[in-house]
């Protein structure tokens, strides 16, 4: 009898360990969407990037987002050129990175469909500058997939983005960044 129980417990432990190993709890996206917007006296500055990559670990709440600067598309070619060459120096600093975590992880049930408001915090690196940021985010779980949305503002000067004095009064000192990331469960 005792042996049977021990075997059963052993089998149960083995099955549990196996299940945990099967479900990594990680989500990823390779084609996430990120855009930014800034109003100016001349024309609004807006661009979109559809190749944002990210990994989110639902067990630890840790997340990393990487953005290639050269994947941002503008309506105007000239604006895209200025953005890459003058403001972002994208040949020197080709990518930006967010390295952070979901703050209230316990409030999110990743195995149940639902929408959760949360905050995410971490370090944002643009060019050669890294600053801590904290922003509101909405996480939606649906059919095993996850969508994350956030919108926040950064101060250009915090990231060494220098606005030429000629257009200084015409360009907003802040930039609004929006992210809309559709994650899939990692196998």
């Amino acid at each position: 009898m005792k042996i049977k129980i021990i075997i059963l417990i052993g089998l149960f432990a083995f099955a549990t360990a196996f299940t945990i190993k099967m479900e990594s709890g990680k989500y990823l996206t390779k084609n996430g969407k990120m855009s930014f917007f800034s109003s100016t006296g001349i024309e609004d500055i807006a661009a979109e990037n559809n190749k944002v990559s990210s990994v989110l670990d639902s067990k630890s709440g840790k997340m990393v987002i990487e953005v290639l600067i050269k994947s941002f598309r503008f309506k105007k070619a000239l604006m895209e050129e200025h953005f890459n060459e003058n403001y972002m120096e994208s040949s020197k600093y080709p990518k930006s990175k967010f390295d952070g975590k979901i703050d209230n992880l316990t409030a999110i049930n990743f195995s149940k469909d639902g929408t959760y408001k949360t905050t995410i915090s971490g370090n944002l690196t643009i060019k050669d500058k890294t600053n801590p940021i904290k922003t509101d985010a909405i996480i939606t779980i649906k059919g095993g997939k996850l969508n994350g949305k956030t919108k926040f503002k950064i101060l250009l000067a915090d990231y060494n983005i220098v606005i030429p004095s000629v257009v200084k009064d015409k360009i907003d000192k802040e930039m609004e960044i929006t992210a809309d990331l559709d994650y899939e469960s990692m196998k």
Binding site: T29, S53, K70, K76, A77, L78, K95
Partner: protein, 138 residues
């Protein structure tokens, strides 16, 4: 005097035209541009993973014709249908982003198809090398 005024108007007109042209100048047409490099997806990723900085110096913003085998067609972002090409490293690909106007062409492709794609090199992300503004080379 009249001549001077006419000349002045013409000069202003020319300057205006140049400014308008620069302001509205068209995007680089990657599909029509001649490729700077022809490379296999495997070699392209290998070069990037060996030394990202030197690969960036060589390939960033350049028009690349990449040859490879499709690992996946990714359509979850409707604004940029993507074709991922196999490399020698598992989970790492050369990710090729197409304009949404080319969705119907991308939809005709299947995993394991051999293919040649032209695009602009944007660098290396978390899952491999990324090229965008892609078109199929037939």
């Amino acid at each position: 005097m009249v001549k001077k005024i006419i000349l002045f108007i013409i000069i202003i007109g020319i300057i205006g035209a140049i400014v308008m042209y620069l302001w509205n100048k068209p995007h680089r047409d990657i599909a029509a541009a001649k490729e700077d490099f022809i490379i296999s997806a495997t070699d392209f990723y290998k070069e990037y993973s060996a030394n990202e900085t030197s690969a960036n110096a060589k390939y960033l913003d350049k028009v690349i014709a990449v040859e490879g085998v499709i690992s996946a067609i990714e359509l979850e972002n409707a604004d940029e249908p993507t074709v991922a090409l196999i490399t020698a490293t598992p989970d790492m690909t050369v990710s090729c982003g197409f304009k949404k106007e080319l969705l119907s062409e991308v939809k005709k492709l299947k995993p394991n198809d051999k293919i040649k794609i032209k695009g602009k090199c944007d660098g290396m992300g978390m899952f491999g090398v990324v090229i965008t503004q892609c078109s199929l080379i037939k």
